[in-house]
């Protein structure tokens, strides 16, 4: 009897196990870029102005290409639907786009009345046959580029959940007038505007996280002092003019304080000052040189460069308890750390074989990755507000210029306009 029970239990177990299901594993997507069809805007009403459509098309193409998200379908292959104004999903002939292998399509229209420009743009999901996002922009004729950047940001948001950084600004230093002055340009390098006329040396700009203003160091008064400038009003004030260095200033992420290097007591140390210039706190106390501070997104830690252990290395300072931890251990000369907005990486430049290259490292000192290779020095990395891109300066073409690349080092391209050297870029927040 006992034996029978055991056999019965055994067979019951076997039955419970059931037939094994077939399983297959797909270890990577077949297409790692979204096939996107970007059609040219069509006139909504009034006189057609093809240059408006061409301008929007050019900006959108460049932005979406830089994103690395898309493979743009060749416009030469477009069928009749590209010539039809379809702003609703019921009007778009999705089967045509599917035939071309597109998974998403951008369509839109524009109208110009005097100096008033209206742009309507839509992003459709070809397989889902539905509208993903749509925007209507109204502005002046000269705002066409801005509208295109703004829609590129929306496309990114729709497909990744995080808005793009294209409708923001990049500040940089250029000597095109013969003096190093502060400039502001769009993220693709268009419309550069000079912000200072110090006829001296201007360095190291940083955007305020809460207002449209910048801080920077200038030798205007003979000493490297810290200045603040409101971008739209043009108002400027000297914020810190203590004896010696007033350099490498960075706004705390809440915008209420500034970390900067001062050498008022002889040695260069990192201090915390208020936005009115009053001294709040000394953060480092070492015989060595402490410079190039960069805030963590939480505002509780600062990455900085110090030669306290011999060669210049990156260290991380806990602002609350003052403890300092060494971050980099390899390499002989590290400079200009920049903490990513997500907080998961710190970019920096390292001097090796006579030239700088850009690296990133996790804040715990692990997972160091080299992002740039080849000839030329790449320096001063700064993150885009969404953490997708890094802007930096490079002299790969002989002259220093501003470049931008994806956070993994791919897609590098020059953005600063020709004429003069470009260096010390800083990327604004949402504009």
């Amino acid at each position: 009897m006992m034996l029978q029970k055991i056999f019965l239990m055994f067979f019951a177990l076997l039955l419970l196990a059931g037939p094994a299901l077939a399983q297959i594993e797909i270890r990577a997507p077949g297409q790692q870029a979204i096939p996107l069809a970007l059609t040219r805007l069509l006139p909504l009403s009034g006189q057609p102005q093809p240059e408006v459509a061409a301008e929007v098309d050019e900006v959108l193409t460049a932005d979406l290409d830089l994103s690395g998200l898309f493979r743009l379908v060749d416009p030469a292959a477009f069928l009749s639907d590209a010539g039809k104004l379809g702003l609703t999903s019921t009007v778009v002939d999705f089967s045509q786009w599917r035939l071309l292998g597109a998974e998403a399509v951008i369509k839109g229209g524009y109208s110009v009345e005097g100096d008033k420009l209206t742009v309507e743009a839509r992003l459709f999901d070809v397989y889902g046959r539905r509208l993903l996002t749509g925007r209507r922009y109204v502005g002046k004729r000269k705002d066409a580029r801005r509208m295109a950047h703004a829609f590129a940001d929306q496309v990114m948001k729709s497909l990744t959940g995080k808005e793009g950084p294209f409708n923001s600004r990049i500040a940089f230093i250029s000597n095109r007038t013969g003096h190093k002055e502060l400039y502001l340009m769009e993220v693709d390098g268009h419309n550069p505007v000079r912000l200072t006329d110090h006829r001296s040396i201007v360095l190291n700009p940083d955007f305020s996280p809460i207002g449209k203003e910048l801080i920077f160091t200038s030798y205007r008064a003979g000493n490297p002092d810290l200045y603040r400038k409101e971008i739209y009003s043009g108002q400027e004030a000297r914020l810190s003019h203590r004896k010696g260095l007033n350099v490498s200033a960075r706004y705390r992420p809440d915008g209420r304080e500034i970390a900067l290097t001062l050498s008022k007591d002889g040695n260069s140390e990192i201090y915390l000052i208020g936005t009115d210039g009053t001294l709040h706190k000394r953060l480092t106390d070492s015989w060595a040189i402490d410079v190039d501070s960069s805030w963590s997104p939480g505002g509780d830690r600062i990455a900085f460069v110090s030669d306290r252990r011999g060669n210049p290395h990156i260290f991380v300072l806990d602002v609350l308890n003052g403890s300092v931890r060494r971050l980099t251990s390899t390499g002989k000369y590290q400079a200009t750390p920049a903490w990513s907005p997500d907080g998961d990486r710190i970019a920096f430049s390292r001097l090796e074989e006579g030239r700088f290259d850009i690296y990133t490292i996790a804040p715990d000192g692990t997972d160091e990755r080299r992002l740039t290779f080849g000839p030329g020095s790449k320096e001063h990395p700064r993150w885009s507000p969404d953490g997708r891109f890094i802007v930096y300066s490079s002299d790969v073409d002989g002259k220093k210029a501003i470049y931008v690349m994806r956070a993994d080092g791919s897609g590098a391209r020059r953005i600063s306009p020709p004429g003069g050297d470009g260096s010390h870029p800083a990327w604004s927040g949402r504009w």
Partner: protein
């Protein structure tokens, strides 16, 4: 009542275990083995199974694939039939007169030009040379176009012509790939996801696909979700492109498909 038992004399040789005990021990051992290999005891033990699929979607899936290559050409003998095709080329002669005809209507015009250009014989000689060059160039371009068109029609698959269509491990007698391999290839091609769309790459989704006897996708459900909506949505999009199998399996087909980014992670390392 007490019964007196007679104890067996001690011989030094251990007595043989009883059948029930042996079955118990055997069952115990089988159970241990079952638990070990089913992963209950070692759930985190990675079993790196990386099958290599190379399926040409032209070759339809079959129930019992024969031994062979899934990417082989199905009808190798057709190649032999191709040579007669030059018969089509014979049609060329009718088109040839067309070429000769074309210059005919143009004749009056050159005549006028020749008259005009008579005072400059050197130039006309140069013109003739450049015209010949132009003709040569046009011919070369035409030849190139023909070659490209021919290449476009050719079957460029790398498998040897004499390899039968089947699977490397196939034991059946049908020419075609297995349903697993076909589905793998189809879903991989249909799956679009950019690495810039997801915040991390250690994502994995398991979807159970159910096909009826006619090959229609009658049900799909996520057995395991990744926790990242964009990743799950991309998988769903790929699955929904597959409405029906090209060949009915003649049985209800259930299959679990695991989607992950392991190859992308490996590329980065």
């Amino acid at each position: 009542m007490r019964q007196n038992r007679i104890k067996p004399p001690k011989t030094g040789v251990p007595s043989e275990p009883k059948l029930g005990r042996m079955v118990l021990v055997s069952l115990g051992l089988h159970l241990v083995l079952f638990l070990l290999f089913s992963g209950f005891l070692l759930p985190r033990m990675e079993r790196e199974r990386r099958p290599v699929y190379y399926v040409d979607l032209v070759n339809l899936p079959v129930e019992a694939p024969q031994a062979g290559r899934p990417d082989a050409r199905k009808e190798a003998p057709k190649k032999a039939e191709k040579p007669p095709k030059p018969a089509v080329a014979k049609k060329a002669p009718p088109s040839a007169p067309k070429v000769t005809k074309k210059p005919a209507p143009a004749k009056p015009a050159p005549a006028k030009k020749v008259v005009k250009k008579a005072p400059e014989p050197e130039e006309s000689y140069g013109d003739a040379l450049s015209a010949i060059e132009e003709l040569k160039r046009k011919k070369e371009i035409e030849d190139l176009r023909k070659r490209i068109a021919k290449l476009g029609q050719e079957d460029t698959r790398v498998a040897p012509a004499d390899a039968p269509v089947g699977m490397a491990e196939g034991t059946g007698d049908q020419a075609g790939s297995s349903y697993d391999a076909w589905l793998h290839e189809y879903l991989k091609r249909a799956w679009t996801l950019s690495q810039y769309q997801v915040t991390r790459q250690n994502l994995e989704v398991t979807v159970r696909l159910v096909f009826d006897r006619a090959g229609n996708l009658v049900d799909y459900r996520f057995i395991e979700e990744s926790g990242e909506k964009r990743f799950d949505d991309s998988v769903k999009k790929a699955v929904l492109q597959l409405r029906k199998l090209p060949n009915p399996p003649d049985r209800r087909l259930e299959i679990d498909v695991v989607f992950n980014l392991k190859d992308l992670l490996e590329e980065k390392r």
